[in-house]
Structures are given as C-alpha cells and as structure tokens.
C-alpha cells in the first residue's frame, strides 16, 4: 500500500467534506441571555477597590512601624550602650598611645 498516496487521498477527502456551518436554533438569544446575566466588570471600580485595600495595608504598616519606633520596649537603649562599648574597645589602643606619648 502506498502510504503517501493514502495520506493525500485522505486529506483530499477532508477538503471535499467541509464542516457544516449550521447554527443551533436560538443560539444568539442564549448567548445574549448569558452575557446579560453575568455581572458587568467595571475596571474603575476594580481599581478603586484594590487601591482602598492597598491604602488600608499601608496605614497598618505605618502604624506598626510608629509603635515599634516610639514605644520604650524597642532596643534603642541597649543598642546605644553597645555602640559606646564598641567605640571604647576600638579606640582603646589610641587612648593608650595618648597616655604613653
């Protein structure tokens, strides 16, 4: 059997039988009913909602940062004493040289 010829013959058969373009009864009415039934998506409304949500999240983060900075339980005091100790340790040799010379 010549497979190339068979393939050509079958493709010709497909070309000879174009599919029907019949549309089912009242198809457009069904589509229109479906389109009318779905809620209309308003882009401005969507953006408005998203921005309000983002604004809420930003305010919450700002408040948390404010609380963290100003309340006494933050570690600022111990950090400053640590930095002073570090500075003294690093400059100890220089202090010694002042006394020596």
């Amino acid at each position: 059997m010549n497979l190339v010829d068979l393939q050509k013959k079958l493709l010709n058969a497909a070309r000879a039988h174009p599919p029907s373009d019949a549309v089912p009864y009242a198809f457009e009415q069904r589509i229109m009913a479906r389109l009318r039934a779905r809620p209309v998506e308003d882009a401005a409304l969507w953006w408005g909602r998203a921005l309000w949500r983002a604004a809420g999240a930003c305010v919450a983060v700002s408040l948390l940062l404010g609380v963290w900075i100003y309340l006494p339980f933050n570690a600022t005091a111990s950090d400053s004493s640590f930095s002073q100790e570090l500075e003294q340790t690093m400059l100890a040799a220089v202090d010694d040289t002042d006394e020596t010379w």
Partner: protein
C-alpha cells in the same frame, strides 16, 4: 472593517449590549464551521462557540478595528479550539481498532485500485476524522489549517499567535506525526 460592524462594536462598547446580537447572528456560521473541524460532538461544538462569543464580548475593547472584525474573531475561535484540543487530548483514541465495515471496504478498494476509492465517500471522511483524532493538538491544528484549509504559513501565524518559524517547525513535525498515524491505520494485511 465594514461600517455596520464598526457601528455595532462602538455601540456595545458604549454600553448597548443588545448591539452584540447582530454580530453573533452574522458570524456564528463561521465560528461553528471552525469549531466542527476540531470537535466531534455537537455539545462540544456548541461549548466552543459559546466560549468564543463570551471571550469576544469580554475582550471587545481590545479590538482596534485595524483588521476586519471577522479576522479578529477567527483568531479568537482558532485559539479557543486549540485550548479545547489541549484540554481533551487525553480522550484521544489510542489505536485504530475496530474500523467500521465501510471504512475497511474503502481501504480494500484503495489497495486494489486507488482511483476507485472515492474521496467523496463518507467512509473516507470518517477515516480522516479518525486520523486527525490521533494527532497531538498542535499537529492537528497545523494539519487542519495548512493541509485541509490550505492557509499560508503567515496566515496560520496570525491565527494562532505562533511565530512563522514556529509554524514551520510544527508543520514539519505534524507531517511526520501524520505519516506515522497513517502507517498505524493501514492494517498489516495491506503492508
């Protein structure tokens, strides 16, 4: 773009949903003919057409009017059909078992005297349907557009959104895949 289509599209975009109905009435035959190339069951064909029109309505604002509405819609239809094929590729038949009597007769006739096997026979149409169902989604889409609808590579590129080199590569692979499927379909007694 025809001015009537442009008017209707403009009206839909301005909120007059009812103006979409004449577009559905006018172009549904093309959408259904396209869908029937890829889906066998009528319920699947209708699902595809419904999906195409829903997408068309949702994306209508992205239609710029540079090309005819029909071209834009056909791009949407072809891509929806491709999505359908990919979603249903596991349902493909795995073998050419149980050819019907008329199909076997047609093959017998083709082997005995190729010219006697009519391309217009219903059995030939059924056989090519089986053959296309064996192909991968991309191969089926390319073979349908290139070999059956006889479209150019450039047209296929526009319809599918694939680049021209990708269409050529997929066409090459699709032809090879089809040759394998034809060989599988031809029963051993003919080889």
């Amino acid at each position: 773009m025809e001015s009537l289509d442009a008017d209707l599209i403009g009206a839909v975009l301005n909120g007059d949903t009812a103006s979409f109905e004449p577009l559905i009435t006018k172009y549904s035959p093309r959408v259904f003919a396209t869908a029937r190339r890829y889906a066998r069951r009528e319920s699947e064909v209708e699902d595809i057409a419904q999906e195409v029109w829903t997408k068309a309505f949702q994306k209508l604002a992205s239609f710029r009017g540079e090309a005819p509405f029909e071209h834009w819609l056909m791009r949407l239809a072809v891509r929806t059909c491709y999505d359908f094929l990919r979603a249903h590729q596991r349902n493909r038949e795995t073998a050419f078992t149980e050819l019907t009597g008329p199909e076997t007769d047609w093959l017998d006739r083709f082997v005995a005297q190729p010219d006697d096997a009519s391309e217009k026979a219903e059995a030939a149409r059924a056989l090519v349907g089986r053959l296309l169902e064996q192909l991968s989604p991309a191969a089926r889409l390319v073979i349908t557009l290139l070999e059956i609808e006889e479209r150019s590579v450039k047209e296929i590129s526009q319809l599918t959104g694939w680049s021209v080199p990708l269409v050529k590569v997929r066409a090459f692979r699709a032809r090879a895949e089809m040759r394998k499927c034809v060989a599988k379909m031809a029963p051993e007694k003919y080889m």
